[in-house]
């Protein structure tokens, strides 16, 4: 009997302990949910306070300015006229210089991560280790029969081992993902979108851009027009193209914490866009031979090779 009693008391103690533990967990979960809710609310409030209504300020200034101008005519006051002119002008300027829409720079990077993770998984799974080859597409305005339409798509080939060969026309035309000769995968380059934006800004297909204009046109597009980097320098030495990017918006993709392997194969979206543009402009295969990233990630250097054939 005493043995049974002690067992019962032990069971009771265990039950009480479990109940106390579950109550604590429940309490912690509830507290966590409450804190998360509060966090969301604070985030919303912060975002709200950060949004300066430039448009509204512009309208208010415009209204006051027009009233001051009207008042100056009514009272024949030069001072009021100057005030009115100034306020009206600044109101109009506020409305004029208001950006269409800006997004945070970090969004670009976070958006791109998933593509690189997918490429990482694919090449890890297939064990491909070759240098990526950017394959130039046919110009957009060239007529191609329906079954060859795939040749107009910009693709990057990641082969199983280093090669300078491109897939057969049939494989390219079909838009195949896995190609056999040479063995590898054909994917849309991560910088395809950025390159299309370059073309849109330039109002020119890169296939129509003279290769010698490339080092002067691209840096301006990437820096002052689209502001994807603080400085871009492109220099050519025969078939080798050296690209130096400073203050890239995508620099954090190269950080070791991210651990992305494919970024060194196909380049960040900006580097990839430059490789795409180079491939289109020269009409040749382009390989990223080497990349060097400074420890603070501020400078990215790439060596691109324009391959013959």
């Amino acid at each position: 009997m005493p043995f049974g009693k002690s067992e019962n008391s032990k069971e009771k103690e265990l039950d009480a302990g479990e109940r106390a533990e579950s109550a604590t967990v429940k309490y912690l979960v509830e507290s966590l949910q409450a804190v998360q809710k509060e966090n969301e609310l604070l985030k919303m409030q912060l975002a709200k306070s950060r949004q300066v209504p430039a448009g509204r300020i512009g309208f208010v200034l415009l209204i006051f300015g027009v009233l001051a101008l009207a008042g100056s005519i009514w009272s024949a006051s030069t001072v009021l006229a100057f005030i009115g002119l100034g306020i009206t002008f600044w109101g109009a300027l506020f409305l004029f210089v208001r950006p269409i829409r800006f997004v945070k720079e970090a969004l670009l990077e976070w958006n791109a991560i998933s593509s690189y993770k997918i490429i990482d998984r694919i090449i890890d799974d297939l064990g491909y280790k070759g240098k990526a080859l950017y394959i130039p597409p046919y110009p957009k305005d060239v007529y191609l029969p329906e079954y060859l339409k795939g040749l107009k798509e910009m693709v990057v080939l990641i082969p199983d081992k280093d090669t300078a060969a491109m897939p057969t026309i049939e494989e390219m035309a079909k838009g195949q993902f896995i190609v056999e000769n040479p063995r590898g995968i054909c994917i849309t380059p991560p910088g395809f979108g950025v390159m299309s934006l370059f073309e849109k800004e330039l109002r020119l297909d890169f296939t129509k851009l003279a290769p010698e204009r490339f080092p002067s046109v691209l840096p301006k597009l990437a820096t002052s027009d689209l502001q994807l980097a603080r400085n871009v320098q492109i220099s050519t030495d025969k078939s080798l193209v050296h690209v130096k990017i400073e203050g890239s918006a995508y620099k954090d993709l190269y950080s070791q914490e991210r651990g992305l392997k494919s970024i060194h194969l196909v380049g960040c979206p900006l580097a990839s866009a430059i490789a795409c543009a180079l491939s289109k402009a020269t009409g040749r295969l382009v390989a990223i031979m080497k990349d060097e990233i400074s420890p603070d990630l501020k400078t990215i250097e790439l060596w691109l090779q324009v391959l013959e054939g």
């Binding site: 024949a76 006229a81 002119l85």
Partner: protein
């Protein structure tokens, strides 16, 4: 009732504002378009500054060609 500013006063105002805007657009960092909490389109600010500058030059030329 008539507008109280004369042509020369408007020219002066144009010159003053054009200089302020041109200097601002030139001094703005080429990388950032953010003034504290404001985000602006720098190219448009530059256009506005250039338009005012040209307007000032035109008014000066008009005064030189046909002095009032």
């Amino acid at each position: 009732m008539q507008f109280p500013l004369s042509t020369s006063e408007i020219i002066l105002w144009l010159a003053f504002t054009a200089i302020i805007l041109l200097v601002t657009s030139e001094l703005m960092s080429p990388y950032s378009e953010q003034f504290g909490d404001f985000v602006i389109e720098k190219s448009r600010l530059r256009i506005a500054a250039l338009v005012l500058g040209v307007a000032f030059i035109v008014t000066v030329l008009v005064r030189v060609v046909a002095p009032i």
